[in-house]
Amino acid sequence: MSTVEEQENYSNKNRRITWEGCSVLLDINDGDRLLFSRLTAGSIVKIGNKNYPLQPLIGCPFGSMFQVENGANGPCLSRVIPTAEASNAEDKKECDSKNESRDNRALIDNNTAQTLTGDDIEGMRREGASGNAIVEALIANSATFENKTSFSQEKYRLKKQKKYAPKVLLRRPFARSICDTYFKKYPARIGFLRVDTLSLLLSFANVTAHSDVLVVDMIGGILTGAVAERLGGTGYVCNTYRGDSPSSIEIVRIFNFGDEINKRIVRLPLADFCASSNGDSKDIELPQAASGVDNSTIESQAASGVENPTNQSDPVSMEETTMSSEDGKPTTETCALKVHKAAKPGEKASEDAIKSWKENGFSSLIIAAPEVDAWSIVKEVLPFLSFSAPFVIYHQYLQPLATCMHNLQVEKMAIGLQITEPWLREYQVLPSRTHPHMQMSACGGYVLSGTKIHNDNQPNKDFVLLVCYN
């Protein structure tokens, strides 16, 4: 237990409070709307027809809840701090709903139940009534509310609350929440990779600190980011690609990585591996325009409020400085950070790193390339993997993986080959009303996993001579 202090230092990096320039996930109305944003002085979020500055969110702990208010300078978000008593009250409500005798046999849908008109509500708003007050007024003026079952009373209240008193939850973007959000909103951008499938990839590939992970990430950078998150600034995640333009890894920007992690995210054209393994040819640096990162990910409405999105990395290095000064002795590295521009993820791998990978091989391989035939890519990159190292290939379709698995078996390149498909079901758990969710994702993709073996008949070098495409 002597390491507790060390752990404390480390967990400072695992930040629990937002800072200016940090990337956040905003969960509006309990998952109804999810969006990524960057907290800057000028950024805003639009809820309903009003714009709310995000300034009040800076310096708040992740997990904080905000409600909308009409402040002196227009609409604003203000933090709701739940008290222990309020929580207990909620408990009571749950318990009361256990014995229910009311039902909806007398309910007639004739649109006369609500006596409050739109004009009335607008009037209340003008007088500065809070969202919660409007909800209470709506309930008080509903002729049918009292006769509803307590379940539907609760439903009614929630529905009105979402409309008149929206809540914003401040979330820390993690591989999990980023994958979840993309899967809900833009599944195609991450190759329909569901979060449980992503978690399987990381397990089967044995991703851990100090690993050198070779990835073929053609799904926007979610994979690269998730691997880098597990590496925590050690080892490398090396994204390789055919031709001369790397796939975009823009999603990596959402992860809030500091320099120490960004430096560990590198790219290397596949041709460079093959080229130098055949001789001593010097790498020709590609124009920087090929860098796989851009800033377009952040939802446009939020990005419109960001003054200068390309300077986002500066606050990150600022934060590093304050962090180290907490333990009293700023390191030389922090001083260097002040001078140099913050590290960008996805720079070209260094010569030293390439040399080391050629000598030692990578410790894991993960392929997520929906547009490339699984077998054609795996036979090209597998030679760079160490013997006994695990590899895993993701695809949203089964057939390419089946063919790939068959070929790997025939060529005796790997053992422990297995195709798996995860299945994920969420449950509603409520007193006397527990059941699976009515809707679920029916396919989270397929995973081919295996372990590379040392094959005497086909020494590793032979593989290296395979043709490289350009």
């Binding site: 390491t3 044995n206 089946a402 053992i415």
Partner: protein, 311 residues
Amino acid sequence: MLPTDPTKKLSFKRNISDGDLVIVYEKHDNMKAVKVCEKSILENRFGVFKHADWIGKPYGCKVSSHKGGFVYLLAPTPELWTLVLSHRTQILYVADISFVVMYLELIPGCVVLESGTGSGSLTTSLARAIAPSGHVYTFDFHEQRAVAAREDFERTGLSSLVTVGVRDIQGEGFPKDLTGLADAVFLDLPQPWLAIGSAGEMLKPDGVLCSFSPCIEQVQRSSETLASKFTDIRTFEVLLRTYEVREGKMDHCQTEAGTPGSRPSKRKHRASEGSQWEQDNSGSSVVMARPSGEAKGHTGYLTFARLKCVA
């Protein structure tokens, strides 16, 4: 098992040495963990293997017995370990394990508490996620089990990352000296609701808790208890379906025009029996996949919750 020790990191140059823990792979469903010892032998249905023959060979190699039978020698990973460890209790498997690690948002440096330790299947993956600077504190009320788990972590080289305590977490809660230090807590207990209060005290604000329970009644009760201090309470079930892949010859249905895309059909007349199906080798071979016949239908429900940020 983990590359935190650079000498143990996989590499083209790293060979098996005396004292290493290797996974002896016979088949995908038949593996065994063996500590390499120069004077030892391994005996199985393929014959007798001398450890001395293994030393100096690369990991992932095929080694032969005196009878010519062979096995592969692999470097251990938490996934392989889960398949070979001795079951002292029901264990968690890769689907649940992966999902738990992801949902607990574990990254290097995190502190995570676990109860019970059981056979240490999940513990190994927790350690992998928080290495090199985090820590797993795992508790089991069964003394022998705790001792056996400690020995296992010693064997797999994880003891610097894992502390095993003997403690009845349902009855006594987690030790007070861990209060407010945990990034995440994992509970696999028969009555998890008894430990939820203590788990809440251990967690940092916004920290994540997971409770694994096979029965829905346990989930029901835990969720009710969680409601007062936790938020984002969600329950999942995650399962894996595995596929069998095989290459087969598919006979083609012979029609006048031939099926679209098929090879030019041989001029053949099979008058007898009115059969329309080719019986020769002209059918093309295809690789096919189908779900394996049997699968785990249930492991347990995973309930996650985040500690509320209370002023």
